[in-house]
Symmetry: D2
Subunit: 467 residues, 4 copies
């Protein structure tokens, strides 16, 4: 599975916040930049100097949205920011975050990575009570629920989130406090770290390195952590907590240098490659090739375990950008060729173990295999470092229907034939958990074991096709 | 040595041409996109439909300069294009190529990758005769020499190039013919390949894959190949030919999936890593880490030979772009951190062999080593997959003075101490030639053995500092 | 008083709507373009095809915000649009209109030209009840009040507007109906006209010509007109109606080809010039010069009545745009020179009657007089086609404090001396009403007779300086 | 004849230069801004600080091409600049001026307003001698001729211009001198004025007001004026001089506040209106209306002479810009409506004298008359303040063929009927000369009396259609 492609999983967003640092906007900029892989369609930052809040958000990459003068303009010692991947139909500016409630007396801003499962119900109720929505994003619901709740701001947050079910990492900024909230099942990651005198919070730990922050802890499932003038407060908005980190965070989304719940992503992927190699006792191959960049870790692991040399059989063009001209329909295979090249002198006449992290639609995998064969590869044995994706994700990953999931329609043999591979094997769930060193995973997209109620998604999930 | 950095070698440009294909502009776009690593500051294409020529060129990446409507507008069956890396002070649009001589009756266009050594003399002579220059680029000289020469267009080209000395790959397009010309020492690469009914020419063979072209041959040193209505013509404009491909093309510039003079770049780099491993009989290390992306091939070779595991100890941020905000002076080390992360869980407490392709100023290497040590690395043994760069390049690589070359001022021990490395070794010239499987190299930047007369560069080169 | 200047009155916005026409978006574009003089900082259009609504809004001129593809994209048969002049601190995109409430089942959009006098009270109440605001614009209040009201949509509008006091022309669009609402004092203009089968509504009648619409009537003070699937409905949301059109609409804001409450603006201005000429029985002048473009009508009237020739003594540069570089402080007088030139061969040695529509700060008038004198004018007799502005406007005109109003601090003799004029006279209120052929005017900025309660503005108005 | 329309005459360009002033770039910016009406498609400035030259040029308005930082960057005490109207097919950046010859030792830049009649011959000769052209603009010829000439720079200019025939105003800047050159027939205007210690040169005198410069003199036909370190030098490059200022400069191109050869343009136009009124002894009309803005002067003159009131019967929309969406074919009449409105309450039931400066294709005039009639005008008597244009201009005005000239095909009666006017009269040549107070006019477009040899234009002119 490879980037810049329709045939790819997309997650929604990353969040980063800073509490009490004179360079809050700059640090948030660096942090968001380190999280850019989690969303490239929009970015925004809200800052507070303790009295007043300022906001800037736009469509585009972090480096496009913010120039130096913008960051200087975003004075403040607290900040929260967001990078957005927009799902279909939702790329309007109204949906770019942070969302900011501008109130007569103070105001507050929200950054939200994830999906609210009971959004439809909540929105219906809010609209009936007179609330107005500017965009189509679920995240506005959070603003309204907080604003309508009672008590201190912390109590308002508790009341609001006690009504929300789903997968999310949320940051809330007021003029003098920053709150970090994680969903009750721990589906999305959220960690915090110490700065000089302050704190920063991030979707992934990889952002702490560039901000020179020292990792402290993860926000726990169902937890609210408030960084306030009175100090840090840790509390829960629900007791119905459980721990099921999204397995695809390990498989594909997170950067290899991040630690998820204390486990390094590169190492988890590398071990998945090693386990696949152990299962492949029989294989006769000359080289191991990973689909760059997401499958390199697993390929290294497979190579190290199998003692088959790791090779750069596929080269990625670093300059594929968003404005790129798509090849015409009849030259569809050129699409992959512009992003990836097979290196003839490496792959010609070789038996290849091709490692990919996952298969969604299968179209990209099919073309990569074709690319290798055209370059003279003798055999291509495909090894997928995760189980077949057979169920739609309702927790924020952009696979909302069975139609897009080839493994929902084909078994492994059929798929192997479709891909033109010489053999095809997936990592099974058991091995995946072993590789990732954790049982605390959501595997719903592999086995249909959703970790929350389904609400309006019930009907979608029931439409499972027969193979 | 890693991209997006001042501390990096830059070459000037790549060229790509198509003769006789109804999709000439689109194919040239794809070809230039595959050559984007050779220059990111400007791009342009000239086409001819056999009667009229059209041009579009702008500053920016290929995908920024050309949108679909532009390519549709560039009707034609022949095309030449260019990607530019601008040397200091030369990023004005006047210097973006192709350069086009618009004449009353027909006209012609030139794309030029390289450096003309006797440019100053030629320009002085041309100006004295009344020629006018619009920009500062050497390439305009070629236009003037052709226009002033006599005879058929091929004879004009011969006469023009017989006066030019330097390192270059040049494409010339008239309304009905395309000419490919390479310098007499073969310093810059230039190859051609067959299309359906036509031909394409490229600085590097990596561009042939995306255009579905089949490699035929390299343009020979001192050769002119004309693709004309009368067929292909191969001739030489000089007999003083020799073959000295720029060694840095193998070391750094070319894409790993290109073949230079028939030798695959990845394999050449990998063998350089293997030889370094053989020389390192004594080393006690836990992992091999390459500076991404340029040193990955050599690192894989070192790992394979030494049986020390290859690891992703450094992760590159894929979203570092040109509009990026530079960290302030006092946070200079953040510059490297935004582009590279050291993976703590991989490198902590490890003895590391760090492979880099080359060292120019040394500042980036120093920071990378610091990064690894901050992440807990125990020892960092630096291995450079090329010899020390001690002499300025006069053939188009952007190292014009001794001041920029740390190896011109320090010996290996001093440099090791400066870098904070635990040991430092370079590949020597003899081993490099063995690794690259060729003696036909220009090694002037390593040993001062320039392969042409020096002209005005004589005085610069004589200023060599004492160590 | 002349455009593109800080020393100028600004009003807030113009609105235009179309009900039932297949070219709704294009017609609204043309209509907004005709209203461009009412606001140049932002523009937007919402359309409905009867089922779904679409929106586009941006900062910039109408012709910058909308290109052909945008209008094609805004499918629909109904549309409302807005041009915005942003008051200080409010140019953020959040405040660009239309404002759109995106609801699960249907939604609605609002365009608002004017000022809500009791905005602070309403907003405080709404926030206390849990409503959230995205921007600082008063207009959001309208959305919330409608959404929180009960009954049919028309009943909701009635309930909402019965709570709002101020000066406004408002358009509301639902998926199948368009509502036009005018404030209870008739301070802002709003008219409607028939299209082929539909209707259009506009802040000014000048927009009906380009859309080929035939004027029907004005919306009455306090009236709601609904264009609905059931036909047109005319009703009032209050009985406390009265008619006081803002006098400055005649004096400065409206286009000369508009009819306000049935009175043509050019003719009203021309008559004000004629009356001034009648009052000037004694004057000995050679030519009449109007400050272009706003004072041309009054100057023509003065010339016609006095039989002193009308002359182009001042020429306006048509290309003064928003990105224009401001002259440095010490060259402040160049600011006026870039916009206006005095024609030496016309004005030299002449006694001039200089007609201007109004004086705000007085700085521009002072420089224009200086310009004429530098060009050789002998005498400059200034005649202002409106009374002195001595009170801040609270109804949407951008003169919120006494400090900005020179006539609040100086009497006519002092001001004449300050300006360097040879004589200075203003039109008095009585003559103005005679010239405009109406008594139904708000003259608060001239005489302090505000036509509504003052709410939070009470304290500002009480701060009147002594002369 | 009204702006922003295809049915309009276009001239090519304006030039402005500054010699010896520390604010050379800023003053040139202000000057070009005052000349913006002469060309809106591109702008550029070259400066020299006495040693080095800098250039910036782009497509767009002066205020779009130059922001403050650009002008600060253009250090220097001398400058020349250019605003360009691009003729068909010539809007490429290559043609935007100044053109700059970058030479090893010094260089020079050229700004050129006009047309070289023998361009084709000169270019053919230059190309045969080896000169290369980058664009299609005639102006490059000047660069080449200067560069190829011999002697001092002044001698080179003399030699160059002695070969050039046509209509032009040219500025040449070297590092330490500025030269102003005017064509031998005085077809294009060029004047100079004193600054504090320096001098400025301009196509029109209207630019002197904003730069606080005092008019000194016009450059004479065939004259070269050099501003050099040795002082001012006035000399001629030819003795075959004569004086025939383009009549259309008075009629349409120049700004009313400019003086051409000492005659104020507004006054010349006003007198042409007065003479037309004298000829119209019989007319029974209620109001005089001028097509804004170009015909206002003549309309004022007509009104003053005839004692029929001058009225604002047509209002111009000030915001018509270049990105404006063109109405569809079937709504063609809307094109005029977006730019002009007829004021119903002024024109209804009136007999109108409509003054226009000239008629080219006749399509705009036809629509304006229609507009007035739709608004209720009873009769429309059209008076054109210049003779019928029956011949193409070869001196830089964009009417290169008889097809575009309705008066070349129709006599006055036929044209009156075509336009739907109630009567139509033109100013005759004799009256025009009387109105303009000069006999020194080129009237070739009216009577075919071209003031130079025709060269390649001979054949075009001979194709005159029969009426």
């Amino acid at each position: 599975m490879e980037e810049w492609n329709e045939d790819v999983l997309h997650e929604e967003c990353g969040v980063f916040g800073v509490y009490k640092d004179k360079d809050a906007a700059f640090l948030t900029y660096y942090g968001l930049h380190a999280l850019q892989h989690r969303g490239q369609e929009g970015a925004g930052i809200v800052t507070s100097d303790g009295m007043h809040m300022k906001i800037r958000k736009r469509r585009g990459l972090v480096s496009e949205v913010f120039h130096e003068e913008h960051l200087k303009d975003l004075q403040g010692i607290h900040a929260i920011g967001h990078v957005r991947y927009a799902t279909a139909g939702g790329s309007e500016l109204e949906n770019v975050q942070p969302l900011y409630a501008k109130l007569l007396k103070d105001g507050f801003a929200v950054c939200h990575n994830g999906q609210i499962i009971n959004a439809h119900n909540l929105r219906k109720k809010l609209e009936a009570e007179g609330s107005i929505f500017q965009g189509s994003s679920d995240s506005e619901i959070i603003l309204h629920l907080i604003q309508k709740a009672n008590g201190t701001f912390l109590e308002k947050i508790k009341e609001a989130f006690s009504q929300i079910e789903g997968a999310f990492a949320v940051l809330v900024l007021t003029k003098d406090s920053l709150y970090a909230i994680r969903d009750a099942k721990g589906l999305r990651p959220l960690s915090f770290a110490s700065l000089n005198e302050g704190v920063c919070v991030s979707s992934e730990t990889c952002a702490f390195q560039v901000t020179n922050a020292d990792y402290i802890d993860d926000v726990a499932p169902g937890e609210i952590i408030g960084f306030t003038p009175k100090g840090m407060i840790r509390t829960h908005y629900t007791t119905a907590c459980d721990h099921h980190m999204c397995a695809m965070e390990y498989v594909y989304f997170s950067r290899p240098d991040s630690e998820l719940d204390g486990i390094n992503v590169h190492n988890a992927r590398k071990r998945s490659g090693m386990i696949m190699a152990k299962r492949d006792k029989d294989i006769q191959a000359d080289i191991v090739v990973g689909v760059p960049d997401s499958s390199t870790s697993a390929a290294i692991g497979y190579a190290e375990q199998s003692r088959i040399p790791f090779e750069l059989g596929l080269i990625k063009n670093r300059y594929v950008g968003r404005t790129f001209i798509k090849p015409t329909q009849e030259q569809r295979e050129r699409g992959v060729k512009m992003k990836l090249s097979a290196v003839r002198s490496i792959v010609a006449d070789k038996n290849i173990v091709l490692i990919d992290d996952s298969i969604v639609r299968g179209t990209t995998s099919k073309r990569i295999i074709q690319l290798l064969k055209e370059a003279g590869a003798h055999q291509v044995h495909v090894r997928i470092a995760s189980p077949p994706i057979c169920f739609p994700c309702i927790y924020g990953v952009d696979t909302s229907s069975y139609e897009e999931l080839i493994s929902a329609r084909m078994n492994v043999d059929e798929l192997c034939a479709y891909l033109g591979a010489d053999s095809l094997r997936f990592l099974d769930i058991h091995d995946m958990k072993e590789a990732f060193h954790t049982e605390k995973l959501c595997c719903a997209c592999f086995n249909g074991a959703y970790v929350t109620d389904l609400y309006d998604y019930q009907s979608i999930i029931e439409r499972k096709p027969k193979k």
